[in-house]
């Protein structure tokens, strides 16, 4: 199956959770937020949410700003 992450299409060999996805792609990053198909996914749901085919995942991070 395929998903998109920040508008780039990625293949997935097997179903994984959002938490697993973040461990693979952004293990060192802090201050992350996730939206799936334009809906914000609460952090407490990251371990449970299984990515579905064609899910559009948007990943965000906290940065400096005024």
């Amino acid at each position: 199956m395929h998903i998109s992450i920040n508008d780039v299409r990625y293949p997935l060999d097997s179903a994984i959770t959002v938490e697993q996805l973040l461990k693979q792609h952004a293990p060192e990053h802090t201050g992350l937020a996730v939206a799936i198909n334009n809906t914000v996914l609460a952090k407490r749901l990251w371990p449970q949410y299984q990515l579905q085919p064609d899910d559009a995942v948007q990943l965000f991070q906290i940065v400096t700003g005024g």
């Binding site: 920040n6 201050g31 937020a33 914000v40 990943l59 965000f60 906290i62 940065v63 005024g66």
Partner: protein, 255 residues
């Protein structure tokens, strides 16, 4: 003490974390400023790039993190950004900012009010960046904002209190903290804002873009403190004519 929602702060200086040359310098400036509230922003994750650890040093300094919604052009976008920020930082505190115009970054008053009303209902502690409009500030207060953040001048312009007359009305009418945000380019601007009776000021560019951000942060802290002390002491009234400070007696008349 500065009281916002359910928290109290001994410092009346808020810092923006943008534009510093590096995170270490930002942390030193925050320390020198004594501030307890620091703004942050959101952007799309770029996982290919290594990330400096921004958050842990701030948390170790016991700083209240205040994410903003910069980049939002509408109320809908701001609410989405707010929900992301809440998850990213696990805080319901929010600096609401909606500025669709990239040249002057003027806040959109209509979208800001719409978003503020919704965000308060969603449980956010909303601190809206807004134009120095007394009517708008009152409306923002009425929909439940925890403070209002009217601008002194355009973001990053360093022009000082261009909106001074309106700020005076806002401060006079407010029953929530008034935090002067944007445009403060020198410690004297911050002192002037505090002398007017502002509850606090938020500074970013003037410190981060200074040649010595740490020293400038300290200078702003002193000016905020001096301005507040002067406000509490009560400024002498201005007069249209001279009033003598020494006795004008005729003791030299015999010469």
């Amino acid at each position: 003490m500065l009281h916002i929602a359910d928290k109290s702060f001994s410092s009346r200086l808020l810092l923006g974390s943008g534009k510093f040359a590096n995170p270490g310098l930002m942390q030193q400036a925050i320390q020198a400023s004594g501030c307890q509230l620091v703004t942050l922003a959101l952007k799309r994750l770029q996982w290919e790039q290594p990330q400096d650890d921004l958050l842990n040093p701030l948390r170790e300094m016991n700083i209240q993190l205040l994410p903003n919604t910069s980049g939002a052009k509408t109320a809908k976008e701001a609410i989405f950004a707010a929900e992301l920020a809440r998850e990213a930082l696990q805080t319901n505190w929010l600096k609401l900012e909606i500025h669709p115009d990239p040249r002057y970054l003027m806040p959109d008053p209509i979208e800001t009010l719409l978003a503020a009303e919704q965000l308060v209902k969603l449980g956010f502690v909303v601190l809206p960046y807004c134009s120095a409009d007394p009517v708008l500030c009152k409306r923002l207060e009425q929909v439940g904002c925890a403070a209002v953040m009217p601008l002194g001048a355009a973001i990053g312009s360093n022009q000082g209190l261009q909106t001074r007359a309106m700020l005076e009305i806002i401060i006079e009418q407010a029953t929530v903290p008034v935090i002067i945000d944007a445009g403060l380019g020198a410690p004297s601007h911050a002192a002037a804002a505090m002398e007017l009776g502002a509850s606090a000021v938020l500074v970013n560019t003037a410190i981060a873009a200074s040649q010595d951000p740490v020293a400038m942060a300290s200078a702003f802290a002193q000016s905020v403190s001096a301005g507040r002390t002067a406000y509490n002491a009560g400024l002498a009234t201005t007069q249209p004519h001279a009033t003598a400070s020494s006795p004008l007696t005729d003791f030299l008349a015999a010469l």
